[in-house]
């Protein structure tokens, strides 16, 4: 096993591309090292991307926020502007693992690891976030919902890796929220989760929305019908009931020891309603 610390994204991409054996990207390592220990993966090459310039920075840009792929989740809630603009994204990322894990883990890693229960993923999908993917040929962008391909699989090709996550510019009167169900109070994996992101107008009518569910299918879902159901409303009770029904209907969950199909389906609706209420309040709606 070899270990490389490239200082440019291009160099990292070409190391990943040229490797004949199994190459893995190391950012926070909170998934990779556990898998190595368990013998699930045996890398021939580890490419530590943390020395790449700018990859540990959060930048406020004209088009929103650019969060470097190696920014640890613990750094997100230290950025006041980011917390103000995207509280749902930050609260989701700060639910991953323990404080110790948050000191290392990254949203880009959470996304590439492609667990259906990843906390930050539904929040990023609801936010309309994109990832910047770099290869030796250049870079391309992909919507977050298009990154996971299945349980533990993603749509990145050999030689590609994520260098940043881009959050769009925030319209006034917008809010987002993320909720998950776990049987404990902390340090657990979502049984069901939901993120809602919305914008309202001066009268409190929802003009834009995105709704995403986690842990109820092989990948996190973008539920477009759910967003449609709340757009044009003031999130009255009938709308909330409809939102909950649509979210429950969108679930294709598994039965396992952490939750049955029936439980996950019902709770998805409940969380959608509550996340929408929080997002609406955060947007300034009453």
């Amino acid at each position: 096993m070899r270990y490389e610390v490239p200082v440019t994204a291009k160099e990292a991409a070409s190391l990943l591309m040229k490797e004949k054996g199994k190459a893995f990207v190391l950012a926070g390592g909170t998934d990779l090292l556990v898998k190595m220990k368990a013998g699930v993966v045996a890398p021939d090459l580890i490419v530590d991307i943390k020395a790449i310039k700018g990859i540990k920075e959060i930048k406020k840009t004209a088009t929103g926020f650019t969060i470097g792929a190696a920014v640890p989740c613990a750094a997100l809630d230290e950025n006041a502007a980011l917390v103000k603009a995207w509280p749902g994204v930050v609260e989701a990322a700060n639910l991953i693992g323990s404080k110790q894990v948050q000191g290392r883990c990254t949203m880009a890693g959470n996304l590439c690891n492609a667990s259906p229960a990843a906390d930050s993923v539904p929040a990023l999908i609801a936010a309309g976030a994109k990832v910047v993917i770099t290869s030796s040929k250049g870079s391309r962008k992909l919507a977050v919902e298009d990154v996971p391909a299945g349980v533990g699989r993603n749509n990145l090709k050999k030689g590609e890796f994520i260098t940043a996550i881009e959050l769009p510019k925030r319209a006034p009167k917008s809010g987002d929220a993320y909720l998950r169900f776990i049987p404990r109070t902390e340090m657990d994996i979502a049984v069901v989760s939901c993120a809602v992101n919305l914008t309202i107008d001066g009268k409190g009518i929802i003009t834009k929305a995105r709704v995403s569910l986690g842990a109820v299918a092989i990948t996190a879902l973008l539920v477009k019908e759910a967003a449609k159901a709340i757009i044009g409303t003031k999130l009255d009770d009938a709308t909330k009931a409809k939102l909950a029904d649509i979210c429950s209907a969108a679930c294709k969950p598994i039965d396992d020891k952490r939750g049955t199909v029936e439980f996950r389906t019902t709770v998805a609706g409940v969380l959608a309603r509550r996340a929408a209420e929080t997002a609406y309040t955060r947007a300034g709606g009453k």
Partner: protein, 156 residues
């Protein structure tokens, strides 16, 4: 294949060579002789291996030794000031916040990181802040109270 690393541990320059698959915890315990950080699980679940890496609380079992070049790490061995225990350490002893002691170095590092960020935490904030540390002996209450007492003393 080995990696040669120059790093800073508790303010001292340290050099070591290690294998790529060795964790920071392995390096601390087996190559540097600092056995304060403990291996409870090796997979990021128990917090017994907690250290502060470049100002952030991390599980040393989830960091590679190879990553340590140019970094700075604080371990439990650097917590006391010579023979004078840190208020957190003293209050853990005074409040009997440990029994077997295996979890204690990790709790102390996690409490240290918590109090740096939040010098006056509520009980709930302490419990959430220490949720990544498991203790099979004390039942946690005495740990929480020791952290509260130390925080109070440190605020002066």
């Amino acid at each position: 294949m080995g990696v040669h690393v120059q790093t800073t541990i508790n303010g001292d320059a340290v050099e070591f060579a290690c294998g790529v698959d060795e964790s920071l915890l392995d390096v601390l315990r087996n190559r540097v002789g600092l056995t304060g950080a403990k291996e409870g699980c090796g997979t990021g679940d128990c917090g017994a291996c907690s250290v502060i890496l470049d100002g952030r609380l991390v599980c040393s079992c989830l960091v590679l030794g190879a990553e340590m070049n140019g970094k700075s790490v604080e371990t439990i061995e650097g917590m006391a000031d010579g023979n004078v225990l840190h208020p957190l350490q003293q209050h853990f002893i005074d409040g009997a916040a440990l029994q077997c002691g295996v979890c204690t170095p990790g709790f102390l590092m996690a409490a240290q990181a918590l109090l740096r960020k939040n010098p006056d935490p509520t009980e709930e904030e302490i419990r959430f802040g220490l949720a990544g540390n498991l203790c099979r002996c004390t039942g946690y209450d005495k740990i929480v109270r020791a952290v509260q007492a130390a925080a109070k003393e440190m605020r002066g």
